[in-house]
């Protein structure tokens, strides 16, 4: 009954922008995150940690007010028994927060069976995936920025010293580094949420990777370095080669990158993050703080490394998602 028609000519390109509908997805996902119970619990946890550690640090620092030009930054790094410093907590709270934001991003849509309905709207998959990632990243940034502002506020009140411009600038770079660090874990949880149909599996896999880097990677890096660059006779070159390899290996872990980078940002007196030979220290003024641009130069590879890893993970998730069958 249908008359034979000619095969119509094929359009050469996919029509429209891949980002059509992106902001609708971002707005909806952010609203979901900000009203979810899960986020409320984690926000409270981080808030309590922040208030506790910063209060303890401020108590400690009151004694040294006036001797330290970077008092505000000390708030983040000063530990007082039995509480560790705030940055110590951040090292594992940020991954936890990021994983909680993204582990059910895509498989949640499949399990709620909303995926086919959403993708039947005039948007591409690109917009859905990037929208989900951006919404999580913005939520993470929002939470961290709020806490950062809160800490600075408490600090000024408790210490009674207004921060200098450089302190604020260093503090902001620290915030940016923390968000970039969170980005990696977000992208990782997103990849697992695409790869695994069960949200619980995705969450456990993300936490397993995080534990691996937090606890085991430094041990493995050390063992690998010892195996690959053994110290046979005890020559200084051998020791040096082994230590350098260990450093390179340990920096594959985002945790190591992050902790080194914030160390350089929050402690201006840190002059180098690698090995320093006595010969290289000739003429150095010990204890003198580095200017901000020099500290930035020091952490630049770390920051780009964190961002690059995030982009790579997102790209992996993108490829996986594009190849996925939509039928539930």
């Amino acid at each position: 009954m249908s008359q034979q028609t000619e095969r119509p000519k094929r359009e050469p390109r996919r029509e429209g922008s891949p980002w059509t509908g992106l902001w609708a997805v971002v707005a909806k996902e952010m609203a979901d995150h900000l009203t979810s119970m899960r986020m409320l619990i984690l926000e409270l946890l981080i808030l309590l940690t922040a208030v506790g550690t910063v209060y303890a640090a401020a108590q400690n620092l009151r004694t040294t007010v006036g001797q330290d030009p970077f008092l505000l930054l000390r708030l983040f790094t000063t530990a007082r028994e039995p509480l560790p410093a705030f940055v110590g907590f951040l090292g594992f709270l940020v991954p936890l927060l990021a994983i909680a934001l993204a582990f059910d991003a895509v498989n949640g849509e499949f399990n709620q069976r909303t995926i086919s309905r959403v993708l039947a709207q005039p948007i591409y998959r690109d917009a859905l995936l990037l929208g989900k990632f951006l919404a999580s990243l913005f939520t993470l940034a929002l939470v961290l920025t709020t806490i950062w502002l809160l800490i600075v506020g408490i600090g000024i009140l408790a210490l009674g010293v207004p921060p200098s411009g450089e302190e604020v600038a260093r503090g902001l770079w620290f915030l940016l580094l923390t968000i970039a660090y969170g980005g990696i874990w977000l992208a990782l949880a997103l990849v697992f949420s695409i790869a695994f149909r069960q949200p619980a599996t995705a969450a456990l896999a993300s936490i397993a990777v995080w534990l691996f880097f937090t606890i085991f990677w430094s041990i493995i890096a050390q063992m690998l370095a010892q195996a690959l660059r053994p110290v046979r006779i005890g020559l200084p070159q051998e020791v040096l080669a082994q230590t350098q390899l260990e450093l390179v290996l340990s920096r594959l872990s985002p945790n190591a990158l992050y902790s080194e980078a914030i160390l350089a940002m929050l402690k201006p007196s840190v002059r180098s993050l690698g090995l320093v030979l006595p010969i290289q220290l000739q003429g150095a003024v010990f204890g003198a703080p580095l200017p901000l641009d020099q500290s930035l130069l020091l952490i630049w590879p770390h920051l780009t490394g964190l961002i690059a890893a995030t982009i790579l993970l997102f790209a992996l998730g993108y490829v996986l998602f594009q190849r996925q069958e939509i039928r539930a």
């Binding site: 359009e11 029509e15 609708a24 948007i123």
Partner: protein
Amino acid sequence: MNDVVLESQGLSKHYDGFVAVDDLDLAVRRGEVFGLLGPNGAGKTTTILMLLGLTEPTGGWVRVLGFDPARQSLSVKARVGYLPEQLGFYEGLTARENLVYTAKLNGLPRDEAQTRIDAALAQIGLSDAADQRVATFSRGMRQRLGVADVLVKQPQLIIMDEPTQGLDPAAAREFLKIVHRLKAQGITVLLCSHLLHQVQAVCDRVGLFHQGRMVLEGTVTELARQVLGSGYRIHLEVEGPDALEESLSRLDGVLNVTRSDSNLYELEAEKDLRPEAARAVVEAGGRLLLLAVEAPSLDEVYTRYFQQEEVGHVATD
């Protein structure tokens, strides 16, 4: 050309080694309700995914409203509503919030979206439940909300995949009424189902899908003629002379006459022959007690087709 909203030729989809859809030629005209039938796994859902550009065809071509779904999926999806078999909503959001998200994804301005959402909810009778969470909805309400969700974009074509599955009879009837109303509004509907009497109740034409191929296509009467050899079945109860078979079978269009009881006859006919049969009985001196016609049932067509199919396979083996 303009009255064909959906057309495909040689459309195929292969998954490594497995043929889901094989050389499908399909044409759906504007304003009709077309039923796509077939057993589970016949390739219905795969076909729908290709129509929406959610899966790329392996071969052949398809045009939906004149657009190529693989390349112009945004244009297709802006004009075609899809009610999936596995219909899900965001449980934590209200019915209205779910529809607002759909409206935003369709790029509708806020005021326009509100008007359309109110109209859609009113049309399917969910205005009162609009601000309840979807988690509290029954299956029937969800299915109707699905229709509202589709109506928000004011589609020209709606594709429904097993829409009445799992509904209780009342909800299913209600749903079929909605389909009738959509047709009255001039919306073309492609309905995939294996619930035959429901398909028969709403569809203008049907296509029977089997192992990735469209094996039969046409109105139910056409299919009945093709498969059963006859479209209508006329039951007669006659008191009086014996041996009415002969005079009945002489009628034009009668294919077969069977006498099941002493005075019960059954005619298989190409058309509705009730008046002619009545006259034949009276002229032969019989007293007509009952005269009933059974329109061809899709159920019968379907069962018979697959029986023949099996027999055919056995015969060729």
